[in-house]
């Protein structure tokens, strides 16, 4: 039987105070704040972050599958899982698959990973769910939604921190919340209808069905990690199925994160794991075109994993305030920013492919003769001139510090007019890396400041999104 052996998460650093949204539209604020992905982030880059958090302390070569789930992937045709796997520097001979189109995509991927492992197709699969859904400006959804990613490493081997004991599922066809293939913003039918015959009805069926299957009463559940479109509806459901919202219900994180699409049920599971102790029974349920429910039993191993990762708790604590609502509109592409200074070199599919080991996997070269580490990969050693005598070393997971910097006012787009140009010195053999800094207050940048690497979308050109690594202050 397969179990969860690690978890990870990612929440963008930017938070938007909901009062700004209310003030912009002359309507009530729902209070608290929501996360907002930066203008160089999308569901792929956020997924990479969550995967790296999840794999901290694990051998990346042991992973033989990556499932990516999102309702907001950056591509309609082209796999995201393959790019996340490459950026996470996983082996090429692994199973990759994308799950999408439904708020249940996250738990669908989770179930598929369990099945693949139980069926013998793989031993270790990482499931990552990542979403950046957009509500119409002024809509409730705009305030309710947040952006985040979550990852779970599922394994037949290793010491599980939690075991999946049973599951229950229902498929339900209805237009309740949806986006057509051409839609940017989430559409929905009348709230009362979709709550009654959509969310509440289906969630109730899977949750009560699951408890019945296992012959458990709601009281046997230490924490219920229940997806909900908003906190009030989630709490109503919890009461209806017999959970005490105060003691048993995992907080929806509406006040400080927002509801993060198909990632959210798994986010709540990770939140529950962060607080769980050995022997706890967790019930996770997702909603979207039906419902999935899982009974998960926590083991004592959970404490060992907690320390080594940031998770939801760690990333929620590390934040910067978005100064305005307009900044949110621009970061999320709802307002079009004025581009920075023109590009002179456009992306090339063949160049990106040829250079994938340094541009995606972020490998440098380490000379076998003299030990010098250089980035990008150099065939001839800068120091001793030895030719083709190097091994590739991964720099994405190494910390670094700033060697020199400048704050460029020419290159940036109008919503981020200052681009910090940075030369960093890696903790790995002092390799020098030229980088742009993101997620920072440029005024605080100084020489010797510690930084870490983060995978980002660099720009759009030639019909492609171009991805690369940036640095940021250590979160």
């Amino acid at each position: 039987m397969s179990g969860i052996i690690s978890y990870g998460a990612y929440v963008p650093i930017w938070r938007l105070n909901r009062d700004f949204i209310g003030a912009a539209w002359g309507r009530a604020s729902f209070g608290g704040e929501r996360s907002v992905a930066n203008n160089d982030e999308d569901t792929v880059t956020m997924a990479v972050e969550a995967v790296l958090d999840c794999l901290a302390g694990f051998d990346r070569d042991s992973v033989d599958g990556l499932y990516f789930a999102s309702t907001t992937p950056p591509f309609k045709e082209k796999q995201c899982a393959s790019m996340v796997a490459a950026a996470a520097d996983l082996r090429p001979d692994i199973i990759t698959a994308d799950f999408g189109n439904s708020l249940r995509a996250g738990t669908s991927a989770f179930r598929a990973a369990l099945d693949a492992i139980n069926g013998g197709s793989a031993e270790n699969i990482i499931v990552v769910a990542s979403d950046c859904r957009l509500g119409y400006p002024r809509s409730d959804y705009e305030q309710h939604f947040g952006d985040a990613a979550v990852a779970l490493l599922i394994s037949k081997k290793g010491k599980p921190i939690a075991n999946v004991k049973a599951s229950n599922t229902i498929s339900n066809e209805m237009y309740d919340v949806w986006r057509l293939d051409k839609d940017t913003f989430v559409q929905s039918w009348e709230d009362r209808f979709i709550m009654e015959h959509g969310y509440t009805e289906n969630m109730t069926k899977t949750i009560t069905g699951l408890l019945k299957k296992l012959n458990l009463t709601p009281a046997a559940i230490a924490r219920a990690a229940l997806y909900g479109p908003n906190a009030r509806t989630q709490q109503q459901l919890a009461r209806q199925v017999g959970f005490d919202p105060k003691t048993q219900l995992q907080d929806l994180l509406a006040a400080n994160l927002g509801v993060c699409g198909c990632a959210h049920a798994l986010i709540l599971l990770v939140s529950a794991l962060e607080e769980a102790k050995g022997g706890d029974n967790l019930l996770m349920a997702s909603y979207g075109d039906g419902s999935d429910a899982f009974l998960i039993e926590v083991t004592a191993e959970v404490d060992k994993v907690k320390a080594g990762r940031r998770g939801i708790k760690g990333f929620l604590a590390s934040k910067l305030p978005l100064p305005t609502y307009e900044r949110y509109l621009s970061y999320r592409g709802i307002l079009e920013p004025q581009p920075g200074e023109a590009f002179r070199l456009f992306p090339s599919a063949s160049v990106s492919w040829r250079e994938r080991n340094w541009s995606l996997r972020f490998h440098g070269s380490k000379c076998r003769s003299c030990g010098l580490v250089t980035f990008p990969i150099q065939r001839i050693c800068y120091q001793c001139q030895s030719k083709d005598d190097f091994e590739e070393v991964r720099l994405s997971d190494k910390k670094a510090k700033i060697f020199t910097f400048s704050l460029d006012n020419l290159a940036g787009r109008s919503d981020d007019p200052v681009i910090p140009q940075i030369v960093i010195e890696s903790d790995l053999e002092k390799a020098r890396i030229y980088s742009i800094m993101t997620d920072c207050d440029p005024k605080l940048i100084k020489i010797d400041m510690p930084v870490e690497m983060t995978f980002r979308r660099i720009y759009e050109g030639g019909g492609m999104y171009n991805y690369f690594w940036k640095c940021r202050p250590v979160r």
Partner: protein, 401 residues
């Protein structure tokens, strides 16, 4: 390895007015510079046997010598050269080799750049290393990295550092104000420099050179033939050029203060010219002040100032027109402007004119200029070129023959 010293002479030069030449295209600029050079050398276009044509951005790369041939109606070998900001020097250097080899008797070195047809004020981003690595690198963003590290290395507060390099801008604007062909001819104060908008911290508006249109040209002949063309030819005394083996951003252990390309290129040229102490022996230097910090780095890497002590020389006015070694007497890139492919030849034009005593206005003519240097530094930066020019043939060498 033989020295280039006293093998080649410049017998004519031309330089356009630099600036926003909205009414002039690449071809117009080429014609303007070349015909001034023909006239200065007293030759006809038919006398030219080969041409080295330097241009970087405009209108496209990969189109060879077409613009030189079409504009000047040349029916001779034309080679286009392009090497970052040292392109003008590359035209000069390769033309010198054409003469020194004995292959040609009269050649044209031409540098032209039309920057103001791009629709934006800078050189653009994403040039050089690859589609992703340099996606947001601009020239000011790159050269500011030098300033930040220099201030840190030598313990200058940002304010002290900015004041130090700001004085270079004040000097170059003062020089440019007297320079009829310069793009900018306004004097500025240190206060203006300090209060100017930031382009790429720590560099402000007045730390950055002009983005200009312009062209410059030189007519080269064997040194032995030079006096047949004119009484006051100027002789090539040394030519240096060097790359660094990696972009500074990626060079392991690089201190961002000691620039190998600068040191190597100047040393090559000094050795050929027989210069032991450039600070004392040179009468003028036209160096690559694309940004004020670059000029400071050049002082220290060319042996004009001791390491970490350029500030003392700047404060003492050593590089001003009245100082021990006037630098960028024509206003430099800062004020004369920086049409990339033309700059190396424009700087050489200033040294040539100063040696001949023909600086356009008497108030800017330096006294008794015997030996001068022109220099460009290009890339992010990564490559440097130096030319040393002299008034006299080395008689001791002639006698030895």
């Amino acid at each position: 390895m033989e020295s280039i010293k006293d093998k080649v002479a410049i017998v004519g030069m031309g330089c356009t007015k630099f600036g926003e030449r909205w009414n002039s295209g690449l071809d117009d600029l080429a014609i303007e510079a070349a015909y001034e050079a023909y006239e200065d050398a007293g030759i006809s276009p038919k006398d030219i046997q080969a041409c080295w044509f330097g241009t970087v951005t405009a209108p496209a790369t990969g189109i060879g010598g077409t613009h030189a041939a079409n504009s000047l109606k040349l029916r001779i070998p034309i080679t286009r050269v392009e090497n970052w900001c040292i392109t003008g020097h590359e035209a000069l250097r390769n033309a010198c080799f054409g003469i020194a080899s004995g292959m040609y008797d009269v050649v044209l070195a031409l540098g032209v750049e039309k920057l103001k047809d791009t629709g934006f004020p800078g050189l653009g981003t994403g040039r050089g290393m690859g589609p992703v690595l340099e996606a947001r690198r601009t020239s000011p963003g790159s050269f500011s990295l030098i300033a930040t590290r220099y201030f840190y290395t030598y313990n200058l507060s940002p304010e002290e550092g900015k004041k130090t390099i700001g004085k270079i801008a004040v000097k170059n604007h003062n020089n440019g104000s007297m320079s009829p062909k310069a793009h900018f001819r306004n004097k500025i104060t240190l206060e203006q420099v300090m209060n100017a908008p930031i382009i790429a911290w720590p560099l402000g508006l007045f730390d950055c050179c002009g983005n200009s249109d312009g062209a410059a040209a030189a007519i080269l002949v064997p040194a032995s033939q030079a006096k047949k063309f004119r009484a006051d030819p100027v002789y090539i005394k040394g030519l240096g050029q060097s790359f660094d083996p990696l972009l500074p951003h990626a060079r392991p252990n690089f201190d961002w203060v000691n620039w190998d390309a600068l040191q190597n290129s100047s040393q090559q040229a000094y050795e050929q010219a027989g210069i032991k102490n450039p600070r004392e022996e040179l009468d003028i230097a036209e160096v690559h002040d694309c940004f004020t910090i670059t000029e400071l780095a050049i002082y220290e890497n060319f042996g004009f100032s001791a390491k970490g002590r350029a500030k003392e020389d700047i404060d003492a006015g050593f590089f001003e027109l009245t100082g021990g070694l006037p630098v960028n007497a024509d206003g430099g890139l800062k004020c004369f402007g920086h049409p990339v492919g033309a700059s190396g030849l424009r700087m050489t034009y200033e040294v040539y004119k100063q040696i001949q005593g023909k600086a356009q206005l008497p108030e800017r003519q330096l006294k008794d200029v015997k030996l001068g240097l022109s220099h460009t530094f290009g890339g992010p930066p990564q490559v440097s070129a130096v030319a040393i020019l002299g008034r006299e043939l080395d008689k001791s060498k002639a006698k030895a023959k």
